[in-house]
Amino acid sequence: MNTAAADPRSLIACPNCDLLHNQTPVATGERIRCARCGTTLASSRYNAIDRTLAAAVANAILIAGALFFPFIKLEGAGTLQSATLIDAISAFGGGLTAPLVLVVAAFIVIIPFMRASALVYTLWPLRFGRAPYQGAAQAFRFANALKPWSMAEIFIIGVVVALVKIAGMAQVSLGPAFWMLVALVLVLLLENHNFCRWTIWQILGKHTRA
């Protein structure tokens, strides 16, 4: 078996099954898949960096907004309560469940916000064709590692379930913050659709070697 070309960096290995492929330029709108297991190796979309960057900026703004606007309003027995996201997070206040405050806050606010910031930091200079900022590779690596722990979309479903549960007890209405989170979920979906890690790593790689 002849060992791969002189520069192994010109190859792509499938992240799921380790099969080696020759690297070829990917045309816009095209997607290349692993010949053995079918995993997407790289895809190229029109304006991928622009779109991913726009989604990340929108993301950060929506999270900040969702924090401070009223989230849910509850009307029952003549009283009106409105809870912000911060109330929901700090609800786990005392006793045994205290660590949950941190976990819930991290999943729905801190991690999505950090991830969005890291993506903006990585992509902003690339969008203008400039060299990436110091530590862009670390920031991008960090953003990718955070991805499974960013759970805003799951929280939305949780809100709907909670509303069904208390629907009998009180009149509930949703505040602007809820709709901001819904928008956030849609933006996240769009971002995932346009996101090709491999392409961004290629660009970052060119600069580190230059």
Binding site: A4, L20, D87, A91, V103, V164
Partner: protein, 215 residues
């Protein structure tokens, strides 16, 4: 779109490992074996070290915490001196009684079916790697990907508790508090997510015999 007609040139069945090369799991760059990836600085390993052991450890931790999560109450509701505790299953039954079948199904699937299925799938994948079971690697990879994707959704119930507690917080008549199960359930979900992440899916293909090479 999909370019299956032109499957690109591949080195027939040659993996990075067989070629004496290492692929970075973070950025995908292929390189000669070295300590860390030259592009993204992730430590390079042909296969994640102790992937089997770490996955097994997280899996067991996740299973252990799933037990108190189902025994202890998730929510404690106090109304005018009377106290009511509801467990995960109790919460689902309550929703069925309200007639919200769809929401009951969502919660039931997310907090009972998905965690149990995850334990089974990760356990099966570990066994298939250790004992080199010649099962269809495509199906196993697919199972792995579904498990990794769907595991986070089990968090729904924890968030429901958070929202309920926040909403009813200021009320004088009723008070709702999270129970111990909320913590153990959250930990169980986190541990099983870590189990799925620790599993190096390339091992699934390594365990196939050379003759099992498809196409």
């Amino acid at each position: 779109m999909d370019n299956l007609a032109n499957p690109r040139e591949t080195y027939a069945g040659l993996t990075a490992r067989k070629a004496g090369l290492v692929a970075c799991t973070t950025c995908g760059q292929v390189d000669h074996p070295r300590a860390a990836c030259s592009r993204c600085n992730t430590p390079l390993h042909s296969r994640s070290p102790l992937s089997y052991q770490r996955t097994l450890a997280w899996l067991i931790a996740g299973m252990i915490f799933f037990i108190p999560a189902n025994i202890y109450p998730m929510l404690i509701t106090r109304t005018l001196g009377s106290e009511r505790e509801s467990t995960i299953i109790g919460g689902v039954i309550e929703l069925v009684e309200y007639g919200s079948y769809f929401v009951a199904a969502v919660v039931g699937i997310a907090s009972i079916v998905v965690p149990l299925a995850k334990f089974a799938v990760i356990g099966m994948l570990l066994a298939s790697i250790r004992r080199a079971w010649q099962l269809n690697p495509h199906q196993r990879l697919h199972l792995y990907e579904v498990t990794e994707f769907i595991g986070r959704w089990s968090m729904i119930d924890v968030f429901v508790v958070a929202i309920l507690v926040a909403l009813v917080q200021l009320d004088f008549v009723a008070s709702v508090n999270p129970g111990f199960a909320a913590v153990s359930f959250a930990l169980s979900v986190i541990f099983t997510m870590l189990a799925a992440q620790s599993l190096d899916q390339r091992l699934i293909w390594d365990s196939m015999n050379e003759t099992g090479q498809d196409e």
